[in-house]
């Protein structure tokens, strides 16, 4: 099993632009390793640093110190992104394009030959159940359909590593099931999936390993079964326990 995604002592600071500048530590000494073929869940409460970590992995944010690697290549090099797929949290794709045109556009960025792109576009639109709507402008798509077309664009280059930022947020149960199915299918194909989520039940079902962060610091990392075993509960209770949240007894 080779390491496909790695962060070393990652530290990210954000400085406010106000007159009295304040510095917020978004990530502090974050060490992560994800190996080939894993489905890795990245958990944490809002503002914990999940999206910041993903942003560093994609080269959107430069860390103050530490380093991040994808396939052993420093994430600051564009070539590191050749074999990844990325689905951001709720994106509104170019509304004047159709799903087919959008996927063709992303295929061109990856330099896919026309025949290969056509084949992949057909397969992906079938996978995300958008075959019927492939020639409709994206402005007519529902939120769930937008998210599914987002999933299709993330898979256009047949990536070895898929990074998903809260892929099921705002989706109806059917949409969530579809995303779960796709992740499961990728896992069966031996692909690596790294995803952040608040849906702990879903994480428990499909993840091999999880990491839990809070206030920019890694609180726990390990196999789902091991974490559940240590806390003798389900993932939701284990999660609350790890982040130090005290459940209030209702009177």
């Amino acid at each position: 099993m080779s390491v496909i995604l790695k962060t070393e002592k990652l530290r990210v600071e954000f400085t406010s632009r106000e007159f009295r500048q304040t510095t917020k530590v978004a990530l502090n000494s974050l060490d992560l390793e994800v190996t080939t073929g894993e489905v890795f869940g990245f958990l944490g409460p809002n503002g914990a640093g999940k999206t910041t970590t993903i942003n560093v992995l994609l080269g959107f944010v430069t860390p103050k110190s530490g380093a991040a690697y994808l396939f052993g290549i420093d994430v600051r090099q564009p070539i590191a992104r050749q074999r990844i797929g990325y689905l951001p949290e709720m994106t509104y794709y170019y509304k004047f394009l159709t799903a087919e045109e959008l996927l063709r556009f992303y295929a061109k960025i990856f330099g896919l030959p026309r025949a290969e792109a056509d084949k992949r576009i057909d397969g992906l639109l079938k996978l995300v159940d958008l075959e019927q709507a492939r020639r409709r402008p994206l402005k007519t798509y529902s939120k769930g359909m937008q998210q599914r077309v987002g999933l299709a664009q993330a898979l256009i280059n047949n990536p070895d590593l898929l990074i998903l930022d809260e892929p099921t947020s705002g989706l109806d149960p059917l949409g969530r099931m579809k995303v779960r199915e796709v992740i499961q299918r990728l896992k069966n194909e031996g692909k690596t999936v790294f995803f952040s989520s608040h849906e702990l039940g879903e994480v428990e079902t499909i993840c091999d390993r999880v990491a839990i962060i809070n206030q920019g610091e890694l609180k726990a990392i390990g196999r789902v079964g091991d974490i559940l075993g240590q806390h003798h509960s389900n993932l939701e209770k284990a999660f609350l326990d790890i982040i130090g949240y005290q459940l209030q007894a209702t009177p």
């Binding site: 942003n55 992104r81 061109k108």
Partner: protein, 258 residues
């Protein structure tokens, strides 16, 4: 290069699927056709005024298209979060900027072709002549001037917060350069120091967009601009375009994308 042209293709598609261009074209055409249909004061030379009006409308419309199209590119990508999946692909930030620039510039070129074809047809219907080379020189220099404006607007879209404020500021700056740019050195002469040096510096620093205005050449049927000067004007435009694009890339390199 493929990814640059892929980005450019999206910009061009956006232009012809939005209503802006069609509205401006129809408006220009309507005004010109109405003016052409009336023979004011029974003057035979009225065609000159008609050509002047038509070219003025083409210049205003092309500037509006160039500025509005370029001003919304990066802010819209950020607002809709499409910048994230785009930059998560093996596409560098300078490539994205170049793609946006070429897209806007080619889109302006397509719009100019439509406008000049309409103008040519209108003028030919009255004058029964079609000075192709004059039209070519005027349209080509006009297009290269729009390249400078597009690059400047892209830079502005990273500096100013809202696309509307960027568009307004760039429009005022461009209009200012076109109207008073050529007189700044004369103004400087009448000023005391240090104002004189400041105005002179501004005169030499700004791109002199008025150099690309060949409307009089067409209106008064003047002879062609010597090709040597035509080439130099294009080089001048390319130099300023490159300068603004480098500035845009440098500013964008440090921008957070989300």
């Amino acid at each position: 290069m493929k990814s640059i042209f892929a980005v450019a293709g999206i910009v061009i598609k956006e232009l012809y699927r939005r209503k802006d261009f069609y509205v401006l074209f129809i408006l220009t055409a309507l005004i010109c056709l109405v003016m052409a249909s009336v023979n004011i004061f029974n003057d035979d030379k009225i065609i000159r005024y008609l050509k002047e009006l038509c070219l003025l409308l083409i210049w205003i419309s092309s500037l509006v298209i160039a500025i509005i199209t370029a001003a919304r590119q990066i802010p819209a990508e950020r607002e809709n979060r499409t910048l994230l999946p785009l930059l998560a692909k093996p596409l560098t930030r300078p490539e994205l900027i170049l793609g946006k620039f070429f897209g806007c510039w080619f889109a302006c070129g397509l719009a100019l072709i439509c406008f000049y074809l309409f103008f040519g047809a209108l003028a030919a219907s009255r004058e029964h002549q079609w000075p192709l080379l004059n039209y070519f020189q005027a349209a080509a220099l006009h297009w290269f001037m729009l390249g400078v404006v597009v690059a400047l607007t892209l830079l502005g879209s990273l500096v100013f917060a809202a696309p509307s404020s960027n568009a307004t500021i760039i429009f005022v700056v461009v209009a200012g350069i076109l109207l008073v740019g050529r007189h700044l050195n004369q103004v400087a002469l009448s000023l005391p120091e240090p104002s004189q040096s400041i105005v002179y510096s501004v005169y030499y620093a700004i791109p002199h967009l008025e150099l690309f205005d060949l409307r009089d050449l067409i209106i008064h049927d003047w002879p062609l601009v010597p090709w040597k000067f035509f080439g130099l004007a294009i080089l001048y435009a390319l130099a300023y375009t490159a300068l603004f694009l480098i500035g845009t890339c440098l500013v964008f390199r440090r921008k957070t994308v989300n």
